[in-house]
Amino acid sequence: MTGKRGDELGVELGRLWYAGTHDLPAVAEDYWTACTNVPSLVSAQCARGGGLGADPGASIDDYSSRIYQMLLGTRTSVALVGEALVWIADEYAKTDASCRASFESTKTEMEAVGDGS
């Protein structure tokens, strides 16, 4: 097989695995929190009797739904990228026995440290 092998590859795969299992899920979670903080049906608060004013509730709701979709779409992409990185790391490690020890030790070390640095 062409390319990196052994410990160097194992460390790199360990970092990818950590990014996929910790970093990107953390970002996806942040985006989910942002999504859940986007209000829906602000128009209910704008309602008034007697046809007074020019109720902007529908315009607010329309824009708000776009913001929700924007954040949800980002959250979904980030989560899927994370899954893909984990899959790449795990599957690639299976193709090269020389990297497996450093792959596993890198995963353990990074989890112990708590970040991907």
């Binding site: 942002a34 607010i60 824009y63 979904t76």
Partner: protein
């Protein structure tokens, strides 16, 4: 605490009673006449104030600015998750920081760095087209959310302004009515603050520098705790009204209420127009505000070293 419009029916009744007394004073200024004249004059005075008890009815069912406060707080929470380093203040009002920046937002770019030696087409484009663009995109999202937050705050400002104006108008009307019929030529310099409640703000969408039409509150909204934005706002409208007699006080109040109702529409149309235009900007520039899903997500459906996806680490 804004004025409770539930007080308006009581103030309308108080105005009516003061109006009847004022009209009676006006009618009997030179004497009521004899033989049932006083009762007849009182009936005429009461008839002249017919319907005044309903003068504020159009304003009894209006939004409460406090009801918008939780949604504005939620959007501040959302902005905190999208705040990148250097983009932590409210871009619409230019005010101080909404929150600290979210350090997690750099992690996506970092994941792209981990793939920098990988030869696959999807791995290579992930870093350039997604990882490196993620934080700038988050700053554009931050600006887009700020547009919504400030638009809702501006709507709250409209109704705070309406309530402030109704409080003043309804009190002043009673005070002027108490004096009507006993002194001539009174003027009523009624001031409507609502004209200054919504201001338009030119905004660029964070790092994307795409223009997002926005509005902000032209007054500090007590219930949301958000201060006023500066620049581009209207001025309070001063209405020179005639309060020289009981009927003039009522007709002047009706004029002021009509002006108030018209101005609600003017201010709210600014909010709708800004958001409709910003929705159009999002639609036409969607990829700037929501990066397309990278091809790398499809890697698990292909061989791990597929050159179109991950390839290998060179």
């Amino acid at each position: 605490m804004t004025f409770d419009v539930g007080q308006l029916p009581g103030r309308a009744q108080e105005l009516k009673e003061a109006g009847v007394r004022a009209a009676y004073r006006e009618l009997t200024r030179f004497g009521a006449g004899g033989g049932g004249g006083a009762a007849q004059m009182m009936q005429i005075a009461e008839d002249s104030m017919a319907g005044v008890e309903n003068i504020y009815d159009d304003f009894l069912d209006v939004p409460d600015p406090a009801d918008f406060a939780p949604k504005i707080e939620w959007l501040g929470n959302a902005m905190a998750k999208l705040a990148t380093e250097g983009h932590t203040s409210d871009p619409v009002t230019g005010s101080t920081a909404v929150s600290a920046h979210n350090p997690n937002l750099t992690l996506v770019g970092g994941s792209g760095d981990y793939l920098s030696d990988w030869t696959g087409v999807a791995a290579d484009s992930y870093k350039r087209s997604y990882g490196d663009r993620f934080a700038p995109t988050a700053s554009s999202q931050y600006a887009a959310v700020s547009v919504l937050r400030n638009a809702i705050n501006a709507e709250a400002a409209v109704w705070q302004g309406v309530r402030d104006d109704l409080d003043k108008l309804s009190q002043e009307a009673i005070e002027l009515m108490e004096g009507a019929g006993s002194k001539g030529g009174a003027e009523w310099a009624a001031v409507l603050s609502i004209a200054a409640t919504v201001i338009t703000v030119p905004l660029t969408g964070g790092a994307s520098a795409i223009a997002l039409p926005a509005v902000a509150a032209g007054l500090s909204v007590a219930s949301t705790g958000i201060g006023l934005a500066t620049g581009g706002g209207g001025e309070p409208t001063e209405l020179g009204l005639d309060a020289g007699s009981s009927d003039k006080v009522i007709s002047s109040l009706q004029t002021a209420l009509t002006e108030l109702a018209d101005e609600i529409g003017v201010q709210e149309r600014k909010i709708s127009e800004a958001l409709n235009q910003s929705s159009g900007v999002l639609d036409s520039q969607w990829d700037v505000f929501c990066l397309p899903q990278p091809a790398l997500v499809d890697a698990p459906n292909h061989p791990v070293n597929d050159p179109s996806y991950g390839g290998y680490s060179a």
